[in-house]
């Protein structure tokens, strides 16, 4: 039976882990590996990884997309901006930051 194509929710625990790891200085490669490993994905299966970075670091998808080539090419110049934004996120993070309650596929307005 075919799987219906509907938006799937993110694992919020994994989102929190990603933030925690980044705040502890984990390199980008470990962050990607952690998402893929936790979800049981092959290293070549990268698309579902991107929404986790968007959610964890509150970044638009277009700013996360350089990961798509970096995962294969490891050209660090392409992800310098992304690394900086992940660092900035933790600098700006305050104890009052609230997590968005939205799930993938739900409107947040």
């Amino acid at each position: 039976m075919a799987t219906p194509i509907e938006s799937q929710p993110l694992n919020e625990e994994l989102v929190a882990q990603l933030r925690q790891m980044a705040s502890e200085g984990a390199p980008l490669e470990r962050l990607v590996d952690h998402v893929q490993g936790s979800l049981g994905f092959a290293k070549s299966f990268t698309v579902p990884v991107f929404p986790y970075f968007c959610r964890a670091f509150k970044l638009p998808l277009r700013e996360v997309l350089p990961l798509r080539e970096w995962i294969v090419d490891r050209d660090d110049r392409e992800v310098e901006d992304l690394r900086a934004k992940i660092r900035e996120f933790h600098v700006k993070l305050t104890p009052h930051t609230q997590e968005s309650p939205c799930l993938l596929g739900e409107k947040v307005r």
Binding site: A42, F45, T46, V47, P51, L61, R62, R68, G105
Partner: protein
């Protein structure tokens, strides 16, 4: 400071042979990435169409962020193929995968908003596809 997207859409097939991730920003611009192996049980076009249906009339435009790395890039490869034969980039993008799928959904106006490279060898192309 980043603004939360209006809506997000993410789906991966259990076979790990097909997936899509997309978002609709507050201006109605869709950004997405799609992947489908040749033997995927779900086609990239179907994933794209499902995402666009979910976004509905709130989607006013689609931004293509096309990059050429080591892996094949269906959009950039098509543009490079056509511009390598003499087509202009503005004409070539009309034949790219995303643009042809978007056109069927009523997004017919295409603009190249950024390019990096030369005819036959573009590395980065950003397009905006509007209704």
């Amino acid at each position: 400071m980043s603004v939360a997207p209006l809506m997000e859409f993410g789906y991966h097939h259990p076979s790990q042979k097909g997936a899509i991730a997309g978002e609709l920003d507050i201006l109605g611009v869709v950004t997405f990435v799609v992947f489908a192996e040749p033997d995927s049980p779900v086609r990239g076009t179907e994933l794209f169409n499902r995402m666009m249906i979910a976004f509905g009339d709130d989607a006013k435009a689609i931004q293509g962020v096309w990059r050429k790395g080591s892996l094949p890039s269906i959009n950039t490869d098509k543009v490079n193929e056509l511009t390598g034969k003499g087509a202009s980039i503005d004409n070539a993008v009309r034949h790219a995968w995303t643009v042809t799928r978007a056109r069927k959904l009523g997004f017919a106006k295409v603009s190249v908003i950024h390019q990096d490279g030369s005819p036959g060898n573009f590395q980065k192309i950003d397009v905006l596809i509007e209704r």
